[in-house]
Amino acid sequence: MKLVIENLNAGYDADVVLQDLSLSVEAGEFLSLLGPSGCGKSTLLKTIAGIVPAAKGSVFLDGQDITHLPIHKRGTTVLFQDIRLFPHRSVVENVAFPLKMQGVPKGERLHRAEELLEKVQLAGYGNRRPSELSGGQQQRVALARALAAKPKLLLLDEPFSALDENLREDMRTLVLQLKEEFHMTVILVTHDREEALSMSDRVALMFEGSLIQCSTPRQVYSHPASRQAADYFGNCVYIPGKVEGGRFTASGICFETDAADGSYDLMLRPGCLDTETEGEYPVQVERVSFRGSDLQVSFRASDGTLWKKTCPAGADWRPGDRMKAGLQIGEPVLFLRNY
């Protein structure tokens, strides 16, 4: 189901949360929506689902204008951030609820609900009340219930936030697998950057009610549209320099660019610091922290820049070590300095 949003404005009473937001998601695509807390991610999902009315703009699903369609006729299902299981129904009845609404006979819908419970690793929990489950279990029941609706467009609002890493991985796999099986289009809201980058076809970055970038994970990570977008993924390093006559120069760095003359910051990710080969860029090890499968090593460059680089656990770094590292700039990202 192709989703197209045009100049959408929405909010609560007087305060506008979404401002002139446009977005298009291809049929079968998996889009992750990232952004700081309170920027309007949940509001966007609710507006797509018709729960928060659109004040302006339109939402199209497969070419059909659904902006004013009632919630239950849209074929979009939200997995709410606050879960919202029905406390007066058992777990299996919760999962069977969308099927009941579709008129599936009782025996069959309970059977299908049990199957879905099995898929979210909750077989045998069907007869409990939602209040008798842990937070992570409730989240999985909610996932099963949302999947039971077999929506054309599945909107997941931080569905894995209460799960431990192992279970989270299983649920990601399950969602991706069912997405293929049911030919769903999925939008996933998450605060987990790695999850967003690894699962999605595209990543949308949202700040204060507007999308500031929407492209492939690689593109978003290595070519952020703005400094804000760059900082969101953290860990970037900025090296101040100048562009003059089509050349960027900073201490020890120099390359051709087609940027106009002016003062710029060169954005680099930790991966650009090459500590394996001898180079021109002097650094000193400041801190080494062990993180299980790897090490995080902080290098301080002579110009004061701090690099936090992930190294193999076996690497032998000690605070105080000095070396001349190389810089692999690749395709440089320059941000005009306007302060």
């Binding site: 689902a49 729960i51 009632p70 919630i71 239950h72 979009t76 299902t77 939200v78 709410f80 606050d82 919202r84 029905f86 406390p87 007066h88 609820f97 969308p98 609404m101 579709q102 009340r129 939602p130 209040s131 008798e132 219930r145 949302a146 609706a149």
Partner: protein, 289 residues
């Protein structure tokens, strides 16, 4: 020590009121058993209760009051819940509209009785309008709604006051359910009616039935409306009891108290039955209070 004194002082007004109520209840029960030394009655007996139950006027009064209470409670609950849902659906759960809903709750019952008489009596506004618009040949063709043994006028007056009461009483709870779980149900494919029926209504049963019980007990023991809008015979329970109580024959006093005792016991019994039902419901719903 100081803390306990504070707690005690804070509770004092409540304790005082409760004390007065308990003392009155105690007095009613004691006097209903025929113990009123001031009148020379000192031997406790159940005779008055037996007498009460053999009196036809008392039994028909109980029946009248039960009927008033039942119809008032049932209709105000149904219509009040519908009103609440309408307010929720129109997103009018705050502000101006709510004041309009609250207004009838604030109007005293005696004033309501006057309104009802002005509007619904055979010479009232409704009859005049119907006549002016040519629906009625004559005022007297307007149906007799007030002062009838059916107590329709009393019930209508209660409805006028209690429908808004129910709506107001359940509004906050129902709207919080409807805005979260009701929304979730619609999102999973339930129409807005279905979502109300499957989710919002069942989860609101405890609070709705609490409103219903309050109305039932209130209307069951209510005095002004059946007195002002009811028929001379049969009388409502409270009216009948008060009549006996005010009787110049002081020896009727224990009989009046026995009638009060029956009212008390019936009310207490209903409250008990209610709390048992609610306890079960809450367990079934799994924690939603």
């Amino acid at each position: 020590m100081k803390r306990q004194t504070t707690i005690f002082l804070l509770l004092l007004p409540f304790l005082a009121v409760t004390g007065i109520v308990l003392v009155s209840i105690w007095n009613v029960l004691v006097q209903s058993l025929g113990y009123i030394p001031a009148f020379g009655l000192t031997k406790p007996t159940l005779d008055y209760y037996i007498q009460v139950f053999s009196r036809a006027d008392f039994l028909s009064a109980v029946w009248v009051s039960v009927r008033i209470a039942l119809w008032s409670a049932v209709f105000s609950v149904c219509l009040g819940v519908l009103l609440a849902m309408a307010l929720i659906k129109c997103r009018k759960t705050r502000g101006g509209m709510l004041y309009a809903v609250r207004l009838p709750i604030l109007v005293p019952h005696a004033v309501v009785a006057v309104f009802v008489i002005q509007i619904l009596s055979q010479t009232g506004l409704a009859a005049r309008f119907a006549h002016a618009l040519g629906f009625l040949e004559d005022y007297s063709a307007f149906p007799q709604l007030l002062f009838t043994p059916s107590y329709l006028g009393t019930i209508l007056a209660y409805l006028w006051k209690e429908i808004p009461f129910v709506a107001y009483f359940v509004l906050a709870f129902m709207s919080s359910i409807s805005d979260t779980l009701g929304e979730a149900a619609e999102n999973l494919g339930a129409s807005s009616l279905r979502s109300f029926w499957e989710v919002t209504l069942p989860l609101s049963v405890p609070v709705i039935s609490r409103a219903g019980l309050i109305i039932f007990i209130f209307a069951f023991g209510g005095y002004e409306l059946p007195l002002l809008l009811g028929s001379t015979l049969p009388k409502a329970l409270s009216v009948q009891t008060y009549l006996v109580y005010m009787s110049p024959d002081l020896l009727q006093r224990p009989l009046a108290m026995a009638m009060n005792g029956v009212v008390l016991l019936l009310s207490a019994g209903m409250a008990l039955a209610y709390s048992m039902v609610i306890y079960r419901l809450n367990r079934k719903v799994g924690g939603v209070k």
